[in-house]
Amino acid sequence: MKLSTPAATLIKTKSSKYAINVITERCKECGICVAVCPTKVLARGDSRNRRGYRYVVPAYPDKCIGCKMCEYSCPDFAIFVEAG
């Protein structure tokens, strides 16, 4: 079966070392990524996605150390970190 992903906005915020990606339509505003990030890169945003959740935003990308705790702790496959 061919799977198609519903259109979704990807926020890609780059620092010099890491790109932090948020698939906004998947975020449910649980806040776990914000809480587990050891360097406080993430913050709850003000904008809402189509389901009404205020999705997370990578507010301070320069602080990212690439540990991926946000990616591993996100219950909704909404955030991931890439090198570079």
């Binding site: 979704a8 449910k28 649980c30 776990i32 914000v34 809480a35 959740y53 219950p75």
Partner: protein
């Protein structure tokens, strides 16, 4: 635009977002399972078409709805016998059973018991959120003693079921407890369990903020997550006595059993091939 989460190739992406409540630990557990599977596929130990998820009923069993593998979302408590049959007919399959504490240890308890007795070649992942989430917060076999649930409104009078001790006592090859608060450790545990023959049993402590959190006054997903994290102690090679299940004193996570006894398929084939040289197809 194309979305490229690293796990998307293993997900039925058209079904994401999942049906789970915000902050539910199940998505974290599923992510860890898929990353562990990805590593095993990359290594060449597993093939994508030979991996199957089987779940009964409950929030955890709905984990079968999202992975882009062969999947079965069957009936309450009965994932294990379904999976054993698939494994016997197609031994090349890696059967991953996902179920909640109610699905696996209450209604499905007898099947778990006999799968353990057989050392059946299955990976059984029991995600324990200590309540019945899907049906609205009733008593689970793992609900802490004394706790309010909708069916024990004056407090749970029963002792908690420690499935780790059960699995160890009945001879599983691998018995581990992990937690969604430690996703990398959880991934490593599943990664290891995927390579085991015989029965691998992994209990995953998880959070249900919507129901369990409400029962204990921690409705905010982050608050419950942090509370569980505080209660979890990571240990290397803990003894089985250290698996004690106690919400008040907290939980030890780690590998309680790691052995390599013949699995059900090994012994089954041994007896069949004794008579038929080469054995069943």
């Amino acid at each position: 635009m194309a979305v490229t989460h690293p796990l998307d190739p293993y997900l039925r992406v058209d079904r994401i977002p999942t049906m789970w409540c915000p902050g539910c630990g199940l998505g974290i557990a599923l992510g860890a399972i898929l990353r562990a599977i990805d590593r095993r596929i990359e290594e060449g130990l597993l093939k994508k078409e030979n991996i199957a998820f089987v779940g009964g009923i409950g929030c955890t069993a709905r984990m079968t709805l999202y992975p882009y593998f062969d999947s079965a979302h069957v009936i309450h408590g009965r994932a294990i016998p379904f999976a054993i049959a698939v494994k016997v007919v197609k031994p090349e399959m890696k059967m991953v059973i996902v179920g909640g504490d109610g699905d696996i240890a209450a209604i499905g308890g007898n099947h778990l018991l006999h799968a353990l007795k057989r050392n059946a070649d299955l990976l059984v992942i029991m995600v324990n959120n200590m309540t019945y989430g899907m049906t609205g917060g009733q008593l689970a076999p793992t609900t802490p003693r004394g706790l309010y649930t909708t069916t024990t409104p004056y407090g749970n009078p029963e002792r908690e079921l420690n499935v780790i001790k059960l699995a160890a006592a009945l001879g599983a090859n691998y018995v581990a407890r992990s937690s969604i608060t430690h996703p990398q450790l959880l991934e490593r545990t599943i990664y290891k369990a995927l390579a085991k023959r015989g029965l691998a049993f992994v209990e995953v402590l998880s959070t249900c903020p919507e129901i369990f959190g409400r029962h204990i006054g921690l409705r905010n997903p982050v608050d419950l997550y942090m509370e569980l994290k505080k209660k979890v102690t990571v240990k290397t090679n803990p003894s089985i006595e250290e698996s004690d299940y106690d919400w008040g004193r907290g939980f030890v996570i780690g590998e309680f059993v790691d052995r390599d006894e013949p699995g059900f398929l090994d012994t089954y084939r041994e007896y069949i091939s004794k008579s038929f040289g080469g054995g069943a197809v």
